[in-house]
């Protein structure tokens, strides 16, 4: 029996963390993630969780202490947003290369500058090549579910990689919704006992972690890391299957919404998927064969699966909530188009960069995208690849 509650995204993730009972949490406050740290500190203060809470003096130290704790053999977590993630950057890469299964909720916020506190995906998109598994959430329910699943994925012996679970700043983190959580006992069983590999605290078997690894062996270790990411795909699906048995909620690498017979489709991540589904429903009523692919797992990138799911569509719009400043497109577009390369008579693909710095995205915006797609599908080609959606021209 699940429990129905009303929670914000931040509350939902803090609740998941309490139920997961990590040994160590080292975290630093940053808007809009702050509540997670606050709420969790409250749990510790009230004895609701026996975690060692390390209230560090910066995000750099948050990730550093989390790495230290995970290497010691503890289940360790942190959480951050935007500039906090940027300050961690160096150690984000090191955590992945050390193969430490750290779970980190990231509340998406525009990376400075100019400074801004609202949602876009520039923070986590910047970390897309850091070697972390990245799982995006559409709402608080998914943020909760993804956090619980991320731990099982990260700690799988075939994976042993850190995982970010993202949710859109304010839109999800601060909006209350009705959702289901599991009983504490069930989560305890779900996460199980953690058996670390080569922990520092095993003083009878001294390990050296993080040595100077020059051209002699560095490439072999990076190759292992790359393989772990390849292997993680199957693990993510297996964990999702187990989670469905527990909760009835099904997850995949992405969600296909009315995609099977769709002629035009939008690829989107995060909360905008919810808005887009409303538009798809309207368009379907009007007889438009509109569909949607909501990417859940961005790392590992499910290229083959996406190509298979989209190959029949006539025109595709990728929605990028961050820019690559590469003078071509946003980052999601680059990956999706690359995935579609080699598909027989591949659909036309265009990119929309939207919602930067929290710029509101409304059903009207999404409708315009589908209108454009109908046009492109009819003509069989697009006039331009990239459109900035909702910017003052």
């Amino acid at each position: 029996m699940s429990i129905r509650v009303a929670k914000t995204g931040n509350e939902a993730v803090a609740e998941a963390m309490r139920q997961m009972r990590p040994d160590v949490v080292a975290a630093y406050p940053i808007t809009p993630q702050t509540e997670i740290v606050q709420i969790f500190s409250g749990f510790v203060a009230d004895g609701l969780v026996d975690t060692e809470m390390v209230t560090v003096e910066s995000e750099h130290s948050a990730m550093s202490a989390t790495v230290g704790a995970a290497a010691a053999g503890a289940r360790a977590m942190t959480a951050t947003s935007a500039n906090g993630l940027a300050l961690m950057w160096e150690i984000v890469y090191i955590a992945a290369s050390m193969r430490l299964p750290i779970v980190m909720p990231v509340v998406n916020r525009a990376l400075s500058g100019p400074i801004n506190i609202h949602c876009d995906h520039s923070d986590t998109m910047g970390a897309r090549d850091s070697g972390w598994i990245q799982i995006f959430s559409e709402n608080a329910q998914e943020a909760y579910d993804n956090t619980l699943q991320a731990l099982r994925i990260a700690e799988n012996p075939n994976v042993l990689l850190p995982a970010m679970v993202t949710m859109d700043g304010f839109i999800i983190s601060h909006a209350m919704e009705v959702m289901e959580i599991l009983e504490d006992e069930k989560v305890r069983e779900w996460v199980g006992e953690y058996v670390p590999e080569n922990p520092l605290l095993d003083v009878d078997n001294p390990v050296t972690i993080g040595p100077l690894d020059l051209y002699d062996w560095n490439m072999e270790h990076k190759r292992q890391q790359a393989e772990a990411m390849v292997q993680s795909k199957a693990v993510i699906l297996k964990v999702a299957e187990d989670y469905a048995k527990l909760t009835g909620r099904r997850y995949g690498l992405f969600e296909e919404y009315m995609l099977e017979d769709a002629e035009v489709a939008v690829v989107v991540l995060g909360s905008t998927a919810g808005t887009a589904k409303v538009v798809v429903n309207e368009l379907r009523k009007q007889g438009v064969k509109a569909g949607l692919l909501k990417l859940r797992v961005f790392r590992p990138f499910p290229a083959e699966e996406i190509a298979a799911a989209l190959k029949h569509v006539k025109a595709i719009a990728v929605m990028d909530r961050s820019d690559s400043f590469n003078a071509i497109s946003g980052p999601v577009f680059a990956e999706v188009r690359s995935a579609m390369y080699g598909v027989q008579s591949a659909p036309a693909i265009v990119d929309y960069i939207y919602g930067i710095g929290g710029r509101d995205v409304t059903p009207e915006h999404i409708r315009k995208v589908y209108d454009d797609l109908a046009n492109i599908a009819a003509r069989g080609k697009a006039d331009r690849i990239l459109t900035y959606l909702g910017v003052r021209e």
Binding site: D23, V24, A26, D50, T51, E52, V54, T55, V56, E57, S58, H60, S61, S64, A65, T66, V67, G68, A69, A70, A71, A72, G73, A74, A76, E90, I91, I94, L200, L201, D202, V203, P206, V207, T208, I209, G210, P211, L212, D213, L214, D216, W217
Partner: protein, 306 residues
């Protein structure tokens, strides 16, 4: 403290085959520090000579668990290891008593790792931070740090026609750590092994954070003959350039008072990083350095009630 004869029956927790320069003094610090521990030790180390030379894959010179994370986060990393230990011990998953030592060079401690160190000490982790202070960024090729003394020639404070080397005096990090109000702060020198080991032993026994600043002569950066490392580490103490003292629970105590305070000139003369000071144009800098040492020494004596 045990005698050397007694100590010599123990195995060193650091092996040969590390790639430190011939005569380097940091291995002496590791040897003494690890030998002084009563419990098993887990070590963390900042990027720098010590880490680079002791852990060139697939070889490690460490016989204790060791972690290197990055340059500026030795303290934060070990604080995380210690937090894990506290948590797992509370949960009954570990029963052994384990001690934690974080090492960092002066660059990784005084400069880039200063925030991480300050944070870890303020949070009260039960760990000892040891700075091996060789007074410049030696691993990258002798660049000035805030630990570099006035007058020293480094590659980024070079002596030249218009320059006598580094203009600024050293940051007094030991005093900065005293200001943190942590239970144990000390300065030590590997030349005075008994003092160093006694301090490490007591620092580890303290509940809460401890900081030790240990001078480390550097053959390459100070520019002297490789046989002279211990002699220079001793001369630094005898000139009062590097006084040995401790501040335990806020109480200052002088560990060693030279019978006769040796003029700093003798310490400077033996290192080519100061060679340019021994010219008519720069001689006055030596006087200024001596005056500053005298001032600080007197102030320290007063604090120690000497």
């Amino acid at each position: 403290m045990a005698t050397l004869k007694e100590l010599s029956t123990r195995e060193f927790n650091i092996s040969s085959g590390h790639r430190a320069c011939a005569g380097c003094a940091f291995p002496m610090i590791i040897k003494q520090a690890l030998m002084a521990a009563d419990n098993p030790v887990v070590v963390g180390c900042a990027t720098g000579c010590m880490e680079v030379c002791t852990t060139i894959y697939p070889y490690t010179a460490w016989k204790v668990p060791f972690i290197h994370n990055a340059f500026e986060n030795s303290a934060a990393t070990v604080s995380g290891v210690e937090a894990a230990y506290q948590s797992l011990r509370r949960k009954g998953k570990i029963d052994k008593k384990i001690d934690f030592i974080a090492f960092g060079g002066d660059g990784g401690t005084y400069d880039i790792g200063f925030q991480s160190l300050s944070g870890a000490m303020e949070r009260g982790h039960d760990m000892l931070y040891i700075c091996y202070d060789n007074q410049a960024y030696m691993n990258t090729g002798i660049q000035r740090s805030s630990a570099t003394p006035r007058g020293a020639n480094t590659t980024t404070s070079p002596a030249g026609k218009e320059s006598f080397g580094k203009k600024q005096y050293r940051k007094d990090l030991t005093e900065v750590m005293v200001a943190h109000g942590i239970p144990f702060v000390a300065q030590a020198s590997p030349a005075m092994w008994s003092d160093l080991m006694s301090k490490v032993n007591r620092a580890l026994a303290v509940e809460g954070p401890a900081f030790m600043n240990v001078i480390q002569p550097c053959v390459l950066g100070w520019k002297y003959d490789s046989s002279q490392s211990v002699a220079l580490a001793k001369l630094a103490v005898d000139t009062c350039y590097w006084p040995l003292y401790e501040v335990v629970e806020g109480k200052y105590k002088l560990s060693y008072k030279p019978k006769e305070k040796v003029p700093v000139r003798e310490f400077l003369q033996k290192q080519d990083r100061f060679r340019h000071l021994f010219t008519p144009k720069n001689e006055h800098i030596i006087d200024e350095i001596q005056a500053e040492i005298d001032r600080k020494w007197e102030a320290l004596l007063a604090k120690c009630g000497e």
